[in-house]
């Protein structure tokens, strides 16, 4: 009996030591390589961090699935229309001609873009799926300016780690890491299915992050900030979503 328990003790001890030192090494490495999400807090921090770290290692350069034109949904669903504020209604009355996108923070040349300015940059289109966190989805063609083109235009500084993007609604903003910000399918979108982007789908300007759930694709974008730290934004969790328990990283 003592023989077995000694062997068990040694194996168990070795396993525990390996486990603890493995965890410690993983913590150091993940901090160094930016594998810890800004909302890494509370009882669900281990799960969120494992998911984010695993997907960052797996998906840094991978492209969201694109579909043939024949698969574009005939009945896309815009979701609930938000309660528009006066600033938005004023823009809407003027046909969004004065809509601006202000880009600042850790950039060499802070710039204000009009939608035509954005359209003069290299434009792209993609036929990708919007997958809502609730479970529903649709496929549409999205036409826009890759975020990376805008970031190149303003000269984003190498120390920037996140891009924070703000809707015209002051309570609606979000952020993505540079892997998603520099990703070729992340667009500032102004067109949909061969036309202008309808207001219900986020027009005149929507952030499209096709490798994450729909709620990261914030509508009515007016401002971008490049930063190396999300602490100064809202409660420092990367977006208001984690305040109600939703994950900041929604690649899922």
């Amino acid at each position: 009996m003592s023989k077995i328990s000694r062997r068990k003790l040694i194996t168990g001890g070795l396993a525990a030591t390996a486990g603890v030192s493995g965890l410690a090494a993983a913590a150091v490495l993940s901090k160094r390589y930016g594998l810890i999400p800004p909302d890494c807090k509370g009882i669900f921090a281990p799960g969120e961090t494992l998911t984010y770290a695993a997907q960052r290692l797996l998906t840094t350069h991978s492209l969201a699935r694109e579909f043939p034109r024949s698969m574009i949904s005939k009945t896309p669903f815009a979701n609930e229309t938000p309660h528009f504020n006066d600033a938005f209604k004023l823009h809407q009355a003027k046909g969004f001609l004065d809509w601006r996108l202000d880009v600042g923070g850790m950039v060499a040349h802070p710039t204000s873009f009009s939608v035509p300015d954005l359209k003069s940059l290299p434009l792209r289109s993609q036929i990708t799926e919007v997958a809502c966190e609730e479970g529903w989805s649709y496929v549409a063609e999205w036409i826009g300016t890759p975020l990376v083109e805008v970031l190149n235009e303003v000269g984003v500084l190498p120390q920037a780690r996140y891009i924070v993007y703000f809707s015209i609604d002051p309570d609606w903003w979000d952020s993505i890491d540079m892997a998603d910000a520099l990703h070729p399918q992340t667009y500032l979108t102004w067109g949909m299915n061969n036309g202008d982007l309808p207001v219900s789908f986020g027009g005149p300007l929507r952030m499209r992050v096709p490798r994450q759930l729909g709620y990261k694709s914030v509508k009515y974008i007016t401002r971008l900030t490049a930063t190396d730290n999300l602490k100064g934004f809202g409660k420092g969790l990367g977006s208001p979503e984690p305040e109600s328990g939703y994950a900041w990283y929604a690649g899922i």
Binding site: Q55, T59, M71, E133, I252
Partner: protein
Amino acid sequence: MVRVTHWITVLSFFALLLSGTLLVFSHPRFYWGETGNVNTHPLFTIPIPSSRDMVPTGYGYVLPDHNGPSRALHFQAAWVAVLTGLVYVLASLWNGHLRNNLFPARGNRSLRAVWAVFAGYFRRAPTNVADARSYNIVQRIAYLSVIFVLFPLVIWTGLAMSPAFDSAVPAAVDLLGGRQTARTLHFFVSALLVLFVVVHVAMVALAGFWSRVRAMITGRAAVAQESSVEESTAVR
């Protein structure tokens, strides 16, 4: 190892079931193919109220939203369950549990053997000694199906719903036939797992719930139970 992983799996399974059920409330409609939303025809709808007012349910009220914490719990429990399952499978390969106790024994690989077990169940015959030490053929088939068919399927269909995972491994969702098919299959496989748990717990209850649970916790009670079974069969 079998016992520890069993109870960790029990905990994570219930966390997954609870959070998964709460998530379904935000959109109790299921579709087939790549896309589906309230503007398209569902494959079927679960007749429950929803936690979203954009979903037509026929109920005049909207339930509170628990999706944020539910999803966090779902993923954390999924990590625990998957890592535990990995440890269980590797350990079972290593220590012979898989070969000795799960893979159907040589003399039992026939429908006749399966039927004999069911016949025993129907007669409510006392457990024989061999069955008290290991699993019978029906148990082996059920456990193997859960471990090597249903668990992999539920993990696969779950991962196929991740847009980021699909960007790295598009075949994960394309082979299933689309994102909404993956979601619907995830629901059905989960239902099969629940069915397994119900039957499993019912069988444990028939065999003597607390003595079996004690055996599964300590491992020792099983021996005592076994000898008492031996005695009772000897008496007969």
